[in-house]
């Protein structure tokens, strides 16, 4: 369990054009992250994600408030809490002049693992991240993706129950990203609680069980992914997203819909098959009103073959909630 209570961090920024600037990177953030969750932190650059994650790890001292990891106050007993945490920073480097196994061996000793267990654990973790062939290679010769995997190997080396991964997918190619997602799912299945921040919302939506949407140090939404999306949908009860498919091509359908009462944000759907077209739009009205709209459309001669209600994606919810402003 990770618990954040009224966590606040205030910073000073260097003066811009002579004007001093102050930032509240985290503003009385309250969170409870249950065991075995994959908890995603979402927000634009400067939203306070990295600051919050660093405070969870005990690397930054909060201005006020507290963090508990596995029931231990991180500020008062950082070393006791840190044994339960594996951490990967957003921008990091490794010791280029060490070999892969030497790097992991160093951290295993630094985490005070029993000496007898270290060689086997290093071998196990190297195999787990798929770097067996690079075991004796110098780190400077590894690719970006391999270094990222080595970073994750270091984070999980001492088998911590909580993993804090700050933008672990940044700079990775699509294949490495898929591998990373598989790694994280695998870790979660092993019982790890994972706190992850990322800009790639579709990736987060795929793997996270819960999310926290942050902006300017504030939590805009937090909780189970499904409940965040349900809550978001409940906040806009008058509108729902509808997709109509017709067995014809052309833009007449969109033009026709745009002129109807209660219809807004009409745009062609990308998923239309050859010889057909489809339009997504927001509809403000009851089911009866929608039925009337469809009947009128059919009467007007449109070859309608499907009408679907679709929910907002996580990306759409995020875009709606967040202005995307940077502090």
């Amino acid at each position: 369990m990770v618990r954040l209570e009224n966590l606040t961090k205030e910073y000073d920024l260097p003066p811009v054009k002579g004007k001093p600037a102050q930032v509240v990177a985290a503003d009385r953030v309250n969170l409870q992250i249950a065991d075995r969750e994959i908890y995603g932190f979402v927000g634009p650059n400067g939203a306070g994600k990295t600051t919050t994650l660093k405070m969870i790890c005990g690397l930054l001292v909060p201005t006020s408030g507290s963090v508990e990891v596995q029931g231990i106050d991180v500020e008062n007993r950082p070393e006791d809490a840190q044994q339960f945490i594996g951490y990967l920073a957003d921008f990091f480097s490794l010791y280029d002049d060490m070999k892969v196994w030497e790097y992991l061996d160093y951290f295993a000793r630094a985490y005070k693992m029993p000496s007898a267990q270290i060689p086997a654990r290093v071998t196990e973790v190297i195999a787990w991240v798929g770097l067996e062939s690079k075991r004796d290679a110098f780190i400077q010769g590894l690719s970006r993706g391999m270094k990222q995997r080595l970073g994750i190997a270091r984070a999980v080396l001492h088998n911590p129950p909580v993993l804090v991964l700050d933008e672990p997918a940044s700079g990775l190619d699509p294949k490495a990203r898929v591998e990373l997602k598989d790694l994280l799912k695998n870790l979660n299945r092993q019982g790890k609680t994972i706190l992850i921040s990322s800009h790639v919302l579709s990736d987060l939506e795929e793997i996270c069980t819960s999310v926290a949407i942050m902006e300017k140090g504030h939590l805009l939404r937090s909780g189970k992914l499904s409940s965040v999306m349900e809550q978001s949908a409940a906040e806009t009860p008058a509108q729902r997203r509808i997709r109509i498919r017709v067995a014809a091509t052309g833009s007449e359908l969109m033009d026709w819909l745009s002129k109807r009462e209660g219809v807004s944000d009409a745009h062609p759907s990308a998923s239309a098959a050859q010889g057909s077209s489809s339009v997504d739009f927001l509809f403000a009205g009851t089911d009866s009103a929608l039925a009337v709209l469809v009947r009128e459309l059919v009467t007007a001669g449109a070859p309608v073959f499907a009408v679907e209600g679709s929910s907002e994606s996580f990306e759409q919810i995020y875009a709606r909630l967040s202005g995307g402003e940077v502090m």
């Binding site: 606040t8 205030e10 000073d12 260097p14 003066p15 001093p20 102050q22 509240v24 503003d27 009385r28 953030v29 309250n30 969170l31 409870q32 660093k54 790890c57 005990g58 690397l59 930054l60 001292v61 201005t63 006020s64 950082p78 070393e79 840190q82 044994q83 945490i85 951490y87 920073a89 921008f91 990091f92 480097s93 490794l94 010791y95 002049d97 060490m98 030497e102 160093y106 951290f107 000793r109 630094a110 985490y111 005070k112 270091r154 504030h218 939590l219 805009l220 939404r221 937090s222 909780g223 809550q231």
Partner: protein, 523 residues
């Protein structure tokens, strides 16, 4: 944890002591040793180094010791300046901070791990030193003591470099190295700390001179000028409250204690959030101040009844009031270090304000400076009272006034610096120090041009007249001296008011409570 199983030392050993690197280093050292050996044993039989004649063996030992000292002190120091700063630059330091290494383990790992190649080169030069010592008939106990002092002195320098590295900002490494080299250069003169102290040099290079000694005797040396024999001071004879002690022993104790202070400073901060660095706690900083003054009092050239007085047996130049002036002047830098340690930055002030345990934050650091002034001042007066020459001028009232003025002058300056440090700017403290420096420079120029350096009126602007205060000046201008003290206090009150206004800007935001309420409720 055993030092040899320290993961940080092991990591550095794996990086620095790879066989190829070791072979190259050992090969280069061997070439240097053979070349020096050939030069000293085959070119000439007697060699003049530093005005003294040596056999080839002793000369070789002397040169090898110098090389070893330079390698250890400068090489090790530069390596340690990079130790933490480079990790921060490369974003690898957080990964070390989050491990289970204790702060002390990480500090010792960096201190002894970073200069491993330097230690290896030092060891590679040992064979030539042994050859030199054996052929030159050096005293083994003295040589051993010299090596112990050399190693210890180098470790102290390395620990100091590590402190610099911890607090270093990005892009300032070159300046830090130059600063370090300048300090090492200034301290390697071989003379004593101060003409007022019966204490030899604190430089690690003293070990090289020690190795040239033939005995542990503390008797004065003799120089022959024609048919005359003149006594000379023994550079290894220190006086601890008037009792002769060998400088090697004193230096050993000093090095160990200074090392402990430096080590505790790094270990206290190395795993902390850098915005929350604090060299020492206020109580520890006060302890450091007391430690410095103990050294000052213990090794001062005190008056000894019946003995030849003063430096080189000349009449003692100090009255008891002069002695206090020397102590106060010697305390200016330690008190400034003490004050700088106490200063808080905006983050620390914010945390105190948020926690609601700030107390009277706007008066910081006045209480501790006052306490420091009180403790040091009382100790100073008591020790002077005990060791002074009773036949010379002394006034307890003047002594107390000087201590009070000294304390309030410092308090006033540091209330100003604390106020500037709480300003929102790129380098607020640096600006504060700059303003203070400009103020004092201007004040000194004006007072000097008016030939009023010793006038009590000058004490309104500067502390310097205080150091020349005697009973005549005191009784002639008592009111002005008191007014000068009162003005220092008044200036301090002004800075307290300014600081209070700045602190008000750092109070927790009331607005942030309402802004985050929905998010908290969503849980």
């Amino acid at each position: 944890m055993n030092l040899f199983s320290n993961p940080e030392i092991l990591r550095n050993a794996r990086i620095q002591l790879r066989p190829r690197k070791m072979l190259i280093a050992a090969g280069m050292c061997a070439v240097v040793e053979v070349a020096l050996g050939y030069a000293f044993f085959h070119s000439r039989s007697d060699i003049d180094i530093g005005g003294a004649d040596y056999s080839g063996g002793r000369a070789l030992l002397h040169v090898i010791l110098w090389i070893q000292a330079l390698v250890l002190v400068i090489g090790g120091g530069i390596a340690c300046i990079h130790a933490i700063q480079r990790e921060k630059d490369q974003n690898t330091f957080d990964f070390q901070r989050i491990t289970r290494l204790s702060p002390l383990e990480l500090t010792l790992g960096k201190l002894f791990g970073t200069p491993l190649m330097v230690f290896f080169v030092f060891l590679c030069l040992i064979p030539a030193a042994i050859v030199g010592a054996v052929s030159g008939g050096a005293s083994w106990t003295i040589l051993l003591a010299a090596y112990v002092l050399l190693m210890l002195g180098a470790i102290v320098c390395d620990a100091f470099a590590l402190v610099i590295s911890l607090f270093l900002r990005r892009g300032a490494v070159t300046w830090a190295i130059l600063f370090f080299l300048a300090l090492v250069g200034a301290g390697s003169g071989g003379s004593s700390f101060s003409p007022y102290l019966a204490l030899g040099s604190g430089s690690p290079f003293v070990a090289v001179s020690l190795a040239q000694q033939t005995s542990w005797s503390l008797a004065p040396g003799v120089t022959h000028v024609g048919s005359m024999s003149l006594p000379t001071t023994n550079p290894f004879r220190d006086l601890f409250f008037g009792v002769p002690v060998h400088h090697a022993l004193v230096l050993f104790v000093l090095d160990v204690t200074i090392f402990a202070w430096l080590l505790s400073a790094v270990a206290r901060n190395i795993k902390r959030d850098p915005t929350n660095y604090e060299l020492y706690t206020p109580a520890q900083a006060l302890g450091f101040l007391c430690y410095f003054n103990f050294i000052l009092f213990a090794f001062f050239q005190w008056y000894v009844p019946g003995a030849p007085r003063g430096l080189l047996g000349m009449p003692h130049p100090f009255t008891a009031l002069d002695t206090q002036s020397v102590f106060l002047e010697a305390n200016v830098i330690p008190f400034f270090i003490f004050g700088f340690i106490l200063l808080r930055n905006r983050n620390q002030a914010r945390r105190l304000l948020h926690s609601g345990t700030a107390g009277r934050l706007e008066t910081w650091p006045a209480p501790y400076l006052f306490l420091g002034g009180l403790i040091v001042g009382i100790a100073m007066i008591l020790v002077i009272q005990w060791k002074r020459d009773p036949s010379l001028e002394w006034s307890v009232a003047i002594a107390i006034f000087r201590v009070a003025y000294f304390a309030f002058w410092l308090i006033c300056d540091f209330l100003f610096l604390q106020w500037t440090k709480l300003q929102r700017a790129g380098h607020p403290l640096l600006m504060g120090v700059l303003y203070l420096g400009v103020y004092y420079a201007c004040a000194i120029i004006i007072v000097s041009s008016l030939h009023a350096q010793h006038s009590p009126f000058a004490a309104i602007f500067l502390p310097t007249p205080l150091f020349g205060l005697d009973t005549a000046a005191w009784s002639a201008h008592l009111g002005v001296w008191i007014a000068a003290l009162a003005l220092q206090i008044a200036a301090g009150v002004v800075f307290i008011a300014l600081q209070r206004r700045t602190l008000a800007q750092l109070q927790p935001h009331a607005s942030s409570i309402s802004m985050n309420a929905p998010a908290s409720a969503s849980l």
